[in-house]
Amino acid sequence: MSSLRSSLSLDRLGSVIAVLIGAALFASPFVIYRANRIVAGEGRMLADALPPSGSVGVMVLALAVAGCAALVRAPLIRLAAASIGLCAIFPAVGWSAGFITPPGNTFARVSPALGFWLLALAFALLAADALTRLRLSPWARLAALAVAAGAVALLLVSGAWNDLSLLKEYAGRADTFWREARQHLWLAFGSMAAACLVGLPLGILGHRVPRLRNAILQVLNVVQTVPSIALFGILIAPLGYLAAHVPLAAALGIRGIGAAPAFIALFLYSLLPVVANTVTGLRQVPAAVIDAARGMGLSARQRLWQVELPLAPPVILTGIRIVLVQNLGLATVAALIGGGGFGTFVFQGIGQTAIDLVLLGAIPTVALSFAAAIILDAIIDLTRRGSP
């Protein structure tokens, strides 16, 4: 009886979420309609954004989720409610775009508005809270990510969103989109791989030679402090000089402006987390263990290979997670110096005040960083378990 009452009492976070949902439904437009892609738009409330059956359906469902958030504490139920809510509004916004756009009008644009974003935020908060409380195993988290990715892919492939402004922006530049996507990934992953190739040996060296360690870390620390665009700028001059005076460099595609300074800057930024975490990973072995290993007559090299390195991977991977998330975000800035990547759309969008174009660059970037963080966190947890 008492447990029933406590499970039905008002949940404070849930109440906040319920209020958000209420504000989204009754006080904010669900979508924005614009006559063309750059003029100011007019908001459409949910009731006008969908045929009556649709808007009533979404409203009832959202209210049910709100009630569930406020009253039910069981995380699984809350997760289910949040998922149902998300599964309703994402197709609904695409449906709304088709419903509002006058037939045959190719200029009109429909984008999600505050109401949609608030609903998405509320449901996502509810899901995030439930997932946090569920403490899923690494594999379960990966599975959840895969399901979410699958659902988004389904929406995209099925054409349910084709009438949305975002997808119209995409349709107009599908080729460029994938080219910039490749460039973005190349910048982020390529520089990370290079940083691992250089940083791991450097970390091991730093571990073995303490004097060197401090020097290396201090220099890298200063590099890390320099803002990205400033570092790009500083690299442009020497690379330009190199391109002009060393034919081989020019032949390799190194130029002052473009991907080269961006790649090098990302590489330099990546070094600190890789080196620092390698050193920390190697140093974390308890002194008593090292002492015992020495007592058994293991040489420094044997200690490294048999004791220190096997224990280091989780910490080194943590460094790689930092690098990857950081690079995927920083690669956006590369577009400013002609380095390509998703930033191209972001900065073009800013220039044209076309929010959908901005989103075309920003959403994949955020999605990639988010996925990378989840995947690497799961891998880190798995390696931790492997070596307790």
Partner: protein, 251 residues
């Protein structure tokens, strides 16, 4: 602090001040980078006023983030806010996967060009490290110390202001420092959305193919960031030394 390191810092500071107040003195160094008689030194505005605008927006945004993030960090570590703790930690984790540029770019269509989107981006993104470090700092306070404080009859408010916050201070300061450094960088990019700041120099150089501009903009921003980072780091080490914690070897 050793004499050589003090000398280095002093020299860097003097160089920076000299450059932003009298950049023409350095024209000789940038001349070789120009082509077709383009100006060697940024000539579309005063470097000093750009630097001041840059610092102003970073300072204001960091101040705002610090106030809100500290408040939130304190709230979720009190008994009345504990319910929000797990979620707020996940949100910080998720929030940090958002690149600052994306926040900046999304703010533009919502509030227009200029200082506003930059301020919003700096403010929102600056919250994360400060909030995270406030949480870490407050939760790291040893339960023993808190038990002793309670046992001596300190009320929750006294415990917070006399024990928890002073002990969490070094970690909170580290968060603020991180936030300031990120903000310095994001504010540079803010020039693409017409916020007044040092990014203008770099952008102007990129637009007019003037490598000299790009380089001097980059150097000024870099030097500024390194010096501020260093100064805040020194303040932090002071505070932690008093607490008897080994000051970090680096960072």
């Amino acid at each position: 602090m050793s004499a050589p390191s003090l000398l280095w810092r002093g020299a860097a500071l003097v160089l920076l001040l000299l450059f932003i107040t009298a950049p023409q003195l350095f024209a000789f160094a940038f001349e070789p980078l120009t082509v077709n008689g383009a100006p060697a030194i940024y000539n579309q505005g005063s470097l000093l006023s750009l630097t001041l605008s840059h610092l102003r927006i970073v300072f204001l945004a960091t101040l705002a983030s610090t106030i809100l993030a500290l408040g939130l960090g304190i709230f979720v570590t009190r008994p009345s806010g504990r319910e929000f703790l797990p979620l707020s930690r996940s949100l910080v984790n998720i929030g940090q996967t958002f690149p600052p540029v994306a926040v900046l770019a999304i703010a533009v269509p919502l509030v227009g060009f200029g200082e506003k989107p930059t301020f919003i981006a700096l403010f929102l993104y600056g919250l994360l490290p400060i909030f995270e470090n406030t949480l870490t700092g407050l939760m790291e306070v040893s339960p023993q110390t808190l038990d002793a404080a309670k046992g001596m009859g300190m009320n929750p408010r006294q415990r917070l202001f006399q024990v928890e916050l002073p002990l969490a201070l070094p970690v909170i300061l580290a968060g603020i420092r991180l936030s300031v450094i990120i903000s310095l960088g994001t504010a540079t990019i803010g020039s693409t959305v017409a916020a007044k700041g040092l990014g203008e120099v770099i952008i102007a150089g990129l637009q007019s193919n003037n490598v000299a501009f790009v380089l001097q903009g980059g150097l000024v921003v870099a030097l500024l960031a390194v010096l501020i980072h260093d100064g805040l780091g020194m303040a932090e080490r002071r505070v932690s030394a008093k607490l008897g914690r080994a000051a970090d070897e680096v960072s």
